[in-house]
Amino acid sequence: MDQAALHTLLLGAWTTAWISAVAIAGGVPLGLALALLREARIPVVGHIIVLYVSLGRATPLVTLVLFIFVGAPLLGIPLDRYTAAIVTLLLNTAAFNAEVWRAAIRSFPHEQVEAARAAGMTRALIFRRIMLPQIWITSLPGLVNEMTFLIKASPAIAVIGIVDLTRVTNRISAITYEPLPPILVAAALYMVAIGTLVRLQRLLDARARRLAM
């Protein structure tokens, strides 16, 4: 593979990287918000969230990104492809993250909350100082696991014309007529990124177990 091809490939890698990063950064807090809203047991909102999470986990990313990219303008919301891609990845990952957070919240020992309330802390304070630091640690392995799935699913955004790390290999082979090298290099880059996250996940898992909740 020559210089130009490598350069193009790295541009594709960059596209995948920054779009994934934005979706990951937004998806973690969004998932938490959804989990908290659900636990708050507000009548209609709770049901909507359950429906959303169920749909979000069952819908293929390819279908969703097409739906949002083609459908949003018809609702009067103009979306360029990058925004559409980020919104789609966000909605998808938030649905999975909501379940991860929910499991951590559910398994949080109620005694700690009671002790804090007895000490006069407000609910917001309890959440911020007592619950969040701990459920953050127990949720991390699951959240990182979901990050690996996001990166593995990110090639779906190619279908709305974004030249990500996967689609870029088509571009390169259209010029060089050698499809195999760029595909192999792209595969290697993905594996390095995901492999790093997997290793991180194992470390976090060990740390969470030491907290032994």
Partner: protein
């Protein structure tokens, strides 16, 4: 004519795509599971080179995006003289990719089984293969049903990626219908609904297996408790 009527008039396109998705997904999920139950035996075969290679390949697959793997089979292999049509490449990708994931799930579950019962099987005259089929594998399925179910749903969703390598499945059909007749919402809502329905059915099946497991004391929660 309203948009839903247009969609109804062209429903064979969507349903045809749905049928393709079901065939791809159904055949692949079953074949992948069958393949994985053999792979997990290879993974457990100790420190020899064969076991290590298999474990390495399985770990590798779990770090690879599905689409790039499909690309490799469909666009990459022709350089080496191996040419698959899109459907064949799709099947091979789905089956081998998910076999690796199923194998890792089964391997992890096997590690939680008590070792004595395999000895009891051997002491009663079971050959290794029979012991695996009658004693080990049923328990792996019972214990790992929820995780296996999740992986089956991922297999269903991965079929949509194949639309990118020109396989005419549900997402490709919905996309074709909506662009031809200008009914994006209706077409995609139905497609998403069909995916959702299928995964609900899978989860219902998993729940039934879960009930059987609970009855035998092998449920997800109870499996951790040993008397």
């Amino acid at each position: 004519m309203n948009k839903w009527e247009i969609l109804w008039n062209h429903r064979e396109m969507i349903l045809g795509g749905f049928k393709s998705t079901l065939v791809l997904f159904g055949v692949s999920a079953i074949a992948a599971f069958a393949l994985s139950s053999l792979i997990v035996l290879a993974m457990r075969s100790g420190r020899g080179p064969f076991g290590r290679v298999v474990r390495g390949v399985v770990d590798g697959m779990r770090m690879l995006p599905f689409l790039i793997y499909a690309y490799l089979l469909y666009y990459g292999l022709p350089s080496l003289g191996i040419r698959f049509d899109a459907w064949t490449a799709g099947f091979i990708a789905l089956i081998t990719y998910h076999a690796a994931y199923f194998a890792e799930i089964l391997r992890g579950t096997w590690a939680t089984l008590s070792t004595g019962q395999a000895e009891a099987a051997r002491a009663h005259g079971f050959t290794t293969f029979m012991m695996y089929r009658r004693i080990i594998l049923p328990q792996l399925v019972l214990r790992a049903a929820p995780v296996l179910g999740n992986q089956v749903i991922i297999c269903l969703k991965d079929t949509a990626f194949l639309s990118i390598i020109t396989v005419r499945e549900l997402t490709a059909a919905a996309s074709a219908v909506q662009s031809q007749y200008f009914i994006p919402f209706e077409a995609f809502i139905v497609a998403i609904g069909l995916y959702w329905l299928t995964s609900m059915l899978i989860e219902a099946l998993v729940a039934r297996i879960g009930f059987a497991a609970e009855r035998k004391g092998l449920g997800y929660k109870r499996a951790a408790v040993r008397r």
